[in-house]
């Protein structure tokens, strides 16, 4: 390996320069106000967690975890998601105080990358979790919050694709013979490989009826006119009734145009048990975020309650946000050392008006003209325009 140059960073790590920092800050501020008004409480959890608790329970594949060892020899992970640490906090403490909980976070998460650039290994996520509410209204609230948050941020052209992990599992299991076959088909759907799915079904040499059911399902479920079409693939209709209820709540909320149902949607996040969704918007080739119901995860931490949430990725969100040219109104107050008092007063007055004001001694500048160009207004204290 070639030696590391001074400017290099580890693979997937990014700097956030001032302009991007401001944009992120805006998103964070908008998001925080928006979620607070909806009754969500913000919290923070540590960057490092035990591998044996959060590391294992998290749905992020082992090879993506950043691991380190503490002085006692315990393996630690840098948190790969926020849902798992929140499940830990909620079950050990917060649920004793309030149920259901509505929690929100804004945090960086870490997932190591083996491939080339274009995919950060550390990124910010903004998200919510509702813990302790198993009703369909919690599902609806999460979906509606995601939609309204995107609108609040100025994203117009977006889609939420909604599926259901439980329904998909039931349909696949009903029509295959072995657990391996189920796993194989499920994995192919996670990989979005329709061709592979059809080939695998043909290879299994299932009874004709099962084979046809699976093939029909895969073509019908990707292009649903109505959820009821799925009914014929299910013997146990409970979960489907739930989804129909969700659809009608979303209809009432008048958000149907942002929503597509696709019951082949499968996630690599294996803790999802019920409804799950992915968010896409024009402007980014990647999923902005995802969410869903994970009723099993809290059990890992000793509390048997249902939970649901979503997270949006800051980096992809920035790509799809309307490009507004921020007009920065900043003032430069230049002074010579003898006029320090006047300069301090002038700067204080400008700052009181709310104008970002930079106070700079002329003695400290090598190239006055070049520095001045960075500001929208310049005030010179002292020798007027005659300096230098």
């Amino acid at each position: 390996m070639s030696s590391i140059r001074k400017f290099e960073k580890p693979l997937g790590m990014r700097d956030t320069f001032p302009k991007i920092f401001e944009k992120q800050e805006n998103i964070r501020r908008t998001g925080r106000e928006f979620l607070q008004l909806r009754g969500y409480d913000f919290l923070k959890t540590p960057t490092l967690e035990y591998y044996d608790t959060v590391g294992r329970a998290s749905a992020i594949v082992e090879s993506s975890l950043f691991k380190l060892v503490d002085t006692q020899g315990n393996t630690l992970v840098m948190r790969p998601d926020m849902t798992t640490p929140i499940a830990r906090v909620a079950s050990s403490k917060l649920l004793k105080e309030k149920i259901p909980l509505r929690l929100a976070y804004f945090a960086n998460v870490f997932r190591s990358q083996e491939l080339e650039g274009g995919r950060p290994a550390e990124f910010d996520q903004m998200g919510i979790e509702i813990i302790g509410d198993e009703s369909v209204y919690a599902d609806a609230e999460v979906v509606l919050t995601a939609i309204d948050l995107l609108k609040e941020l100025g994203v117009e052209d977006f889609k939420l694709t909604i599926g259901n992990a439980g329904i998909l599992d039931a349909i696949l299991r009903k029509n295959v013979r072995t657990e391996e076959q189920f796993q194989q088909l499920h994995q192919l759907l996670v990989q979005k490989n329709i061709v592979g799915f059809e080939e695998a079904v043909a290879q299994f040499r299932l009874p004709r009826e099962e084979e046809e059911t699976l093939l029909n399902f895969i073509s019908e479920a990707t292009e649903l006119k109505s959820i009821r079409q799925i009914s014929k693939y299910l013997s146990e209709k409970q979960a489907l009734l739930y989804m129909e209820q969700l659809a009608s709540v979303l209809e009432i909320a008048d958000v149907a145009k942002y929503i597509d149902f696709d019951f082949t949607l499968a996630s690599h996040m294996n803790y999802y048990t019920g409804m799950l969704f992915e968010v896409f918007a024009s402007g980014s080739g990647f999923s902005l975020g995802n969410g869903g119901r994970y009723d099993g995860l809290l059990k890992d931490f000793g509390k048997d309650v249902g939970a649901i949430g979503f997270g949006l990725r800051m980096d992809y969100l920035l790509e799809v946000m309307p490009k507004r040219e921020e007009v920065k109104e900043d003032v430069l107050v230049l002074f010579v050392s003898t006029q320090l008092k006047e300069a301090l007063e002038k700067a204080a007055a400008l700052r009181k008006e709310g104008k970002p004001t930079t106070l700079q001694a002329i003695e400290g500048l090598d190239d006055l003209a070049k520095f001045e160009q960075q500001f929208s207004a310049v005030v010179r204290i002292g020798q007027g325009g005659n300096v230098q």
Binding site: K192, I194, V195, G196, F280, S282, G285
Partner: protein, 211 residues
Amino acid sequence: MSNTPLTIAMPKGRIFEEAYDMLIEAGFNLPEDVEMSRKLMIEIPEENIRFILAKPMDVPTYVEHGVADIGIAGKDVLLEERRSVHELLDLNISKCHVASAGLPNTQLNEIAPRIATKYPNIASEYYREKGEQVEIIGLNGSIELAPMIGLADRIVDIVSTGQTLKENGLVEYEFVVDVSSRLIANQASYRMKNDRIQDLVKRLKKCVREG
């Protein structure tokens, strides 16, 4: 949104022509003769389609990043590149297979068998599944040279008629996987332009020939 053109990443060369003919057969209003000698981008305003012409190995990369909405890529490339894209339709064109080949009547070297290939991921996956420890040597072309001059015991490469192997005195040893061209889609485009992409899939599906 629906007014932005559908960007299709196509591999240069033979697959382009076969796939292009399929699109015409599927009823897309495309010029019969398309001048593609040096061009990298072709606009078809009548259909609101834009083609970008890429190296076959790069098609999944353009599609994964969303700079192309859909693309046509060989299964060999998809297996090698492992990009996160929707694989929607087997076009059943440009068929061939990946195989291992070498000089006739030779065994793998017992200590450190060497495999030369331009598909290091496919090759190492294949031998790992077989439980065979091999060393992979990455090459970019003229793979057949490797066994001839003693760089490797075997090569892993695509074989269509077997003519190239024969001309270089090599024989096929093991079949690895079947290859044909697939229609792939970016995950966001698949959702945001679902109507257009589903329409394309349906129309192309009718033109897919069996066998």
